[in-house]
């Protein structure tokens, strides 16, 4: 890195700090029921969207979608915990490629929970973690701010990308204009220009930036 900070040192203090990054589950966290009680109208409004698209029966990912996902995957990406890369999967024989498509379909289908053994699921869920140092100072214990970068298993990434392909158009309709992180290219520029236009129309208004503590690692899904 030319001017960036290096990877965090492998010390006990850094190890301890990761517990604040990835807090443990506690009983008072939000649950599906508490969310349903807190936002009944929002959930009710979302249901027709899902039902209209998916129907009553769970669908399986189309083989064409999976194949397109495998073909369009980026090369030269990080090593997964098992050592697998996309380049390895591209080198599979015809039979191996067919098997790979079926595995991706299985993991994204309702049968996956029953048919994939727990040991395999555990392996597929694993991820390598890179702890980068955030710019800025250190805390009282002398530990810098950490920016965790996860590098999951390649097959899991394939499943996620294939599913993303399926839901992307609908996701845009669902999230925009409130949220822009899904299916919006140049989202930051959009927001800057939108705020520019809004405040040009209403120059006496103001803008408030909201900050939530470690929300990506804490929010209940």
């Amino acid at each position: 890195m030319l001017t960036g900070k290096p990877v965090a040192a492998e010390t006990d203090a850094v190890r301890a700090k990761t517990s604040t990054l990835f807090p443990a589950a506690t009983p008072e966290l939000a649950t599906a029921n508490s969310l349903a009680d807190a936002f009944p109208t929002k959930l009710a409004a979302a249901k027709p969207l899902g039902e209209a698209r998916a129907g009553a029966e769970p669908r399986q990912l189309a083989a064409e979608t999976v194949v397109a996902t495998i073909r369009s995957a980026a090369r030269g990406k990080a090593l997964s915990p098992s050592g697998l890369r996309m380049e390895h999967l591209w080198a599979l024989t015809l039979a191996g490629s067919d098997a790979l498509v079926r595995v991706v379909q299985l993991l994204s289908s309702a049968d996956g929970v029953d048919q994939v053994p727990p040991v395999a699921r555990r392996a597929l869920c694993a991820a390598n973690l890179l702890l980068l140092v955030k710019p800025g100072g250190e805390d009282a214990a002398g530990v810098p701010g950490l920016r965790p970068i996860g590098m999951p298993e390649t097959i899991r990434k394939l499943v996620g990308k294939a599913l993303m392909r399926e839901v992307l158009p609908e996701a845009r309709r669902y999230f925009v204009p409130l949220q822009r992180e899904v299916s919006v290219s140049g989202a930051c520029e959009d927001l800057v220009h939108e705020a520019d236009a809004r405040l040009a129309l209403e120059p006496t208004w103001g803008v408030l930036q909201l900050d939530f503590k470690n929300v990506f690692n804490k929010i209940s899904i």
């Binding site: 966290l29 899904v182 930051c188 408030l208």
Partner: protein, 738 residues
Amino acid sequence: MAAAAFPELVPYLRCIDLGESPTVYGWGVNDGDGGLAAQLLRRFERSIHQGDVLGPLIHALARHPALQALAARHPRCTVLGLHDDGSVISPVEELAAVMRSAAEPGAKVDAELAPAKCAAWSPTPRAPPADLADQWRPAGLTYFGIPVGGAEFVNAEVDQMGAAHARVVRAVASLPPDAVQARLLLLRMCAAPLVTYALRCLPPVAATALAKGVDSKIRRALLHLLRAEDDFRGTRRAHVAGAALPVRMGGLGLGDRSVVTSAAHVVSWLATWRAVDLPAPALRELVRALSALPAVTAPGRPALGAAPPTTAGGGSRTPPAEWGGTSAWLSPAGNAAAATPPTLEPPRSAAPVGVAWPASLAAFASEGGLWGPLLPRLQVCLSACVAKATPAATGSPGRSPFESVAPPSPHLLLSLPPPLHTATIPAAGLLRSLGGVPDSWGAMLAAPTRLTQRQLAQAAHLAAARGMRASLSLAARARWAACCGHGSGLWLNRLPCCGRLGGAMKGAEMVVAVRLWLGISAVTHASARECRCGEIVDALGSHWLGGCPRSVPLRSFRHKEVLQRVATVLRVDPRWTGDVAEPPLPAGEQSPALRPDLRATSVASGAPLWGDVSVVAATAAVHVSRTAGSPRVPGAARVRETEKVGKYTPYLPAGDPPHTFTPLVWEASGRVGPATASFLALALGEENHREALTGLLTDVSLGLWRWNARIVLARVANSFRMGWAPLAAPPLVAHLSH
């Protein structure tokens, strides 16, 4: 929420995410017994998993009801969310209530608001609201990385951006002096595009200042890298001007931020407006207002008889800097400006066809006032963009390689220069179909597909290149043409790696190669030289790259390197067998029997193939007029291919299947001959072999330029500097001579 809105995700979440807390591996810890390292670090027990492809989607799903609740509670406000950032635009009096409201629904999804890290600002200077004293930022704030606020605040932030960029340039410059290739790549790929996002979003005045500073540092670093500090001023200027052009036009893409600033800003706004489902009413209204603005032909001067934007009641045009300072927002210091935003004078002529004007001139004028400084600012930016894309030189520059630079193609060989009959296309791609850069926002918005920054920047570069080309000699035009096109600049993108085939170039060779690429003499203070063969050689050494009998041994090395690369690639390709480079003559054959450079057999057809490699200099005296006359066609390579076919085809052995012959001809600048390109596309160009084809073309391009540099360096050292003894002369003679 996922089950309700996106039931497709539920099986995946159950199978992968929610089945069990997944393991995260951090670093290895030696267990001390020499066994496997204990790596287990953490388990994700809640929330989204780092690195999960669906992480952003799931996070957005979890956060969505809270944002919906916030927007429902404050219907006048605009709520905007992006990943873990959120912002609200509302009346200032309401901001404190908004912050309190955001905390409550956020807590229901375990998102804890951090009030101390929240920030608020308004373009109209005022005292901070009672409940927002800690959050209030009177000067401005950084909004998604872009400073918004008063001129002073924006300038300070832009200075910091410039300083951060300077640190990167300094870090690149601090690399070992011999690592010229790596340093140039880092300048091109890291330092130069570092501020692109800021240029797209910053107000034009601030962006222009930033671009100017960035360009200045990049140019200084480049001149240092190419050891050009001691060159004549005119040479240094040529360095800088040539380097600012894109690689496809024979430049380096360095130091061109000032050229592309207005294009970047225009395109960034266009991208926001061209969204299929434009979300914000404010943006929709802005699009409508902009569509009614008149066209421009020169900076600040609307076309079609319309008057320029003026301040209300004033007869003279207000400088752009006064339209809200250097900020997109009203300047806190400029209360008067905030109170009386500039308005547009109504157009004096009828509206152009296809533009929907407001119902009345009065409505038009009031709409200009409604938008404050935003409309004039955008109009001035468009004027600058159009002006940069307009060639300064008068008269036709003649046929040039830049007039018809084709749009980039994903297929490597399809993007090579087209055949002769298409060489005079005046423009290409979308800009061609639009008849050039659109000169009004209405035309920009009505373009059939989205204009990109590359397209508008290319138009600006074309204008600059035409101006530079007008004063060039025929030989210089030929050299420039040979460096244009999509295949010739591949060597500049080659990553230097170790090993014989690693693609690394020595520092001195890289410096010379880049100088030759830019059309600058290989050595400082170079002048015409007299070759040992008696020819007068120009400062670029074109004579030595092709035509000089004294350079034949060095050119043979260049030829051999190309041959070895081609043979290596064919050897590992499963569709070819029996690949032999420089095969011996068949038994019993004697001179003058022909021996092709390469023999191979197609696995599919069993047909033996003969190939003969050749490198031809498009700048050699015999090809100069051809290359300059048809700049987009690799004419020298085409002639050499014809010669090769005529030479070998009569000697192809008869048989079943019949032997075939292919010429393998490159120009010294890296352009591929048309027949060679066709053969390589067939032999290596299938989907699974695209990497092999790309790698071959890149490696050959690199090898050619490496040897070009070596040849010129060697011959410069062994030639007469007009009237002086050669450097390779006996030391005493050379010393006395120099």
